[in-house]
């Protein structure tokens, strides 16, 4: 097992281009030893590229990859003690399931008795025992993917197992079950696991910590709750949550920042950050879950017109317009559904200030 440190890492597939286009833009990141991590982000943001750099299938064009502090840039995947599972199942068609699972062990020169017990154990966990003697070519897509995973799991030399959207081809029912299974395997073996996905639900059910990636960089690394409550970039706010965060473009004014003619007071730390910055790209973000919808007018509420209401079964999302800007709010289960217009307020503790798309901390803990 190992800690994986990505140091000033950047990657461009075509370094001859001028200027080079970066699939990974310079970043630093540490995957701690033994954790279950998700690497979450939209398609094309560089997740697979990052994973292939960690496993050694790709050599980064800039920066270093360190395993437990040792630079491994030049070490090929075979010698990195890394297992990787790909989006589409890779099985050795002509081999039996048993031979597939035993393949990496045999290549390492493991003894037959050890192979037998290890393969049996993993087949048991993945519920492949019944098909062990079957030819891999004749398996269903999800059995094949389990075999692909199994080839990573049988090895006990691995420092980390990397999963690149491994459940794409699996039925939703089974997806959930396999994800649980992976989680259990993690709890049992405590191997570092990095799980790539573009599905936030998948990420939060699997991982202790999620790295959210955007435009070739990890923009936030935190627990699912941190990503939800304190998105440190507007993209995180927009990408996490369903629907994503509401953003109001605001201007400086003497109370702090103002939207239309509504003034929002700021914390001392926020005020200070605002003074230090000359930018006019200022936004306030608030999650639909935290927008307060009132049945009756009151002193702190603002009238907003109702555009439409979506019923999502257990709760409803209402889309409102306030001063020409669309705002979504989540209604409580027992709450009256407003018609035409309603009154909303923004609890101060859930209002996040973003300068140039980056979060300003409400309290300055760094001083």
């Amino acid at each position: 097992m190992a800690e994986i440190h990505l140091k000033s890492l950047a990657h461009s597939y075509d370094t001859s281009a001028n200027p080079p286009e970066y699939a990974i833009r310079q970043m630093d990141h540490i995957w701690h030893d033994g954790g279950a991590f998700a690497l979450l982000g939209p398609s094309g943001c560089g997740k697979s590229t990052l994973l292939n750099i960690i496993s050694g299938l790709l050599k980064p064009s800039e920066g270093d990859v360190l395993f437990d502090g040792v630079r491994v840039n030049e070490i090929p995947p075979q010698d990195r003690n890394i297992a990787q599972v790909f989006q589409f199942p890779v099985v050795y068609d002509t081999m039996s399931v048993f031979d597939n699972l035993a393949f990496p062990l045999r290549n390492m020169g493991t003894g037959a008795a050890k192979i037998n017990s290890k393969v049996t154990e993993i087949a048991e966990i993945l519920e492949l025992t019944d098909v062990l003697s079957k030819k891999a070519a004749n398996l269903t897509a999800d059995e094949k993917q389990k075999v692909s995973m199994g080839r990573g799991l049988v090895r006990d030399d691995v420092s980390a197992i990397l999963f690149d959207e491994p459940l794409t081809v699996i039925d939703p029912q089974l997806k959930w079950k396999l994800r649980r299974k992976l989680k259990q395997i993690h709890e049992k073996f405590k191997t570092t696991m990095v799980y790539v996905t573009h599905d936030q639900l998948e990420a939060s059910t699997f991982a202790d910590k999620i790295a959210l990636m955007y435009g070739g960089q990890v923009v936030q690394f935190g627990t699912p709750r941190e990503l939800f409550e304190q998105p440190n970039h507007t993209f995180v706010g927009y990408f996490i949550g369903s629907p994503g965060m509401n953003f109001l473009e605001v201007k400086r004014c003497k109370e702090g920042v103002c939207f239309d003619n509504i003034a929002f007071p700021l914390s001392d730390a926020e005020k200070k950050a605002l003074q230090h910055s000359t930018s006019n790209n200022l936004k306030l973000g608030i999650r639909p879950e935290f927008v307060h919808v009132w049945d009756k007018p009151n002193s702190q509420a603002h009238e907003a017109s109702v555009e439409f209401v979506e019923d999502l079964g257990t709760y409803k999302i209402v889309t409102l317009t306030l001063a020409g800007v669309s705002i979504k709010a989540r209604l409580q289960e027992d709450q009256k559904v407003p018609h035409k217009s309603t009154f909303i307020s923004f609890p101060e503790q859930w209002l996040m200030l973003y300068i140039d798309e980056f979060l300003v901390e409400k309290e300055n803990n760094h001083e």
Partner: protein, 287 residues
């Protein structure tokens, strides 16, 4: 369940049926017809049953031809299939050099059969041919016109030169169709280069190789033009393969009846061997 029954659907099959009838069944039945009769002229013919068949099967010259033919086709497959795969494995995967090597490989396939024969006929001559001259200068006594083994090897070499490209191109397309993830997974699994070939490339090549094997078998089993142009089937009968033996019988001696029986047997052998290859290469899938 009672489905409405209509025979009109048969009309839709009719065009295909007519096409197949005229292109295959009618000519074949004509040959069957010939093979069962002794024909002297248009009005004088006798039904002879299986007599021609017995005669053909007992004809020792034809038996020799058949053995020669099997050895030839076997050699062609044993050389061209592995060689073609090898060439495909060594080809650049992409870029300018990939295109150039594809073009070079395609060239021999564009040369007509009789031209191939003529090229090698001259190329192999000891007096004016570069190949024959070079071999003889090296002290190798090479003469395809006099030495049966030399003639035989020349025909084989010609075929390899002409058709290995086909296998290579088929294999190349098969290799290109293997997703990168297979190679990536193999390197993560620490597979050796041989294991990658044995467990990834070869299995993925199976379907194109099946086509390659069938095409090369059928084609080489019917080889005619090249040995005919090179030595006319000689020296002696050493390069007289089945097609040429058949032509001699049908056109040269005008023995239509035996030639008909010969054709049918020839056809059945090709069918049988192709079927054997096909089942041998596909049946291992079902387990």
């Amino acid at each position: 369940m009672n489905k409405p029954h209509s025979n009109k659907a048969w009309f839709l099959v009719l065009p295909v049926f007519i096409l197949v009838a005229f292109s295959a069944i009618v000519p074949l039945m004509t040959v069957v017809n010939y093979s069962l009769q002794d024909i002297f002229d248009v009005s004088t013919r006798y039904f002879v049953g299986t007599e021609w068949y017995r005669e053909i099967l007992n004809n020792s010259r034809l038996q020799d031809s058949l053995v020669r033919q099997f050895i030839f086709s076997g050699s062609v497959l044993l050389i061209e299939i592995p060689l073609g795969i090898g060439v495909a494995l060594m080809m650049p995967k992409s870029g300018k050099w990939s295109v150039i090597s594809l073009l070079i490989l395609a060239l021999p396939l564009l040369v007509p059969l009789n031209v191939v024969g003529t090229i090698w006929q001259i190329f192999g001559r000891a007096d004016i041919g570069l190949f024959g001259w070079a071999l003889n200068s090296l002290g190798i006594d090479y003469n395809y016109a006099a030495n049966p083994i030399d003639a035989w090897l020349t025909v084989l070499l010609m075929d390899v030169w002409h058709w290995t490209s086909l296998v290579a191109l088929l294999s190349f397309s098969g290799l290109r169709a293997i997703p990168d993830a297979y190679y990536q997974a193999a390197s993560i699994d620490r597979a050796s280069a041989w294991a990658v070939f044995r467990y990834i490339q070869l299995p993925k090549l199976k379907s194109v190789l099946l086509i390659g094997v069938l095409l090369r078998f059928m084609d080489s089993f019917m080889i005619y033009t090249e040995p005919f142009v090179l030595t006319g089937g000689g020296p002696g009968n050493s390069t007289t393969f089945l097609s040429q033996a058949l032509t001699k019988m049908a056109v040269g001696q005008f023995d239509i009846g035996p030639a008909g029986a010969f054709s049918i047997i020839y056809f059945l052998i090709i069918l049988l061997v192709s079927w054997l290859f096909y089942t041998a290469m596909t049946h291992s899938d079902n387990k």
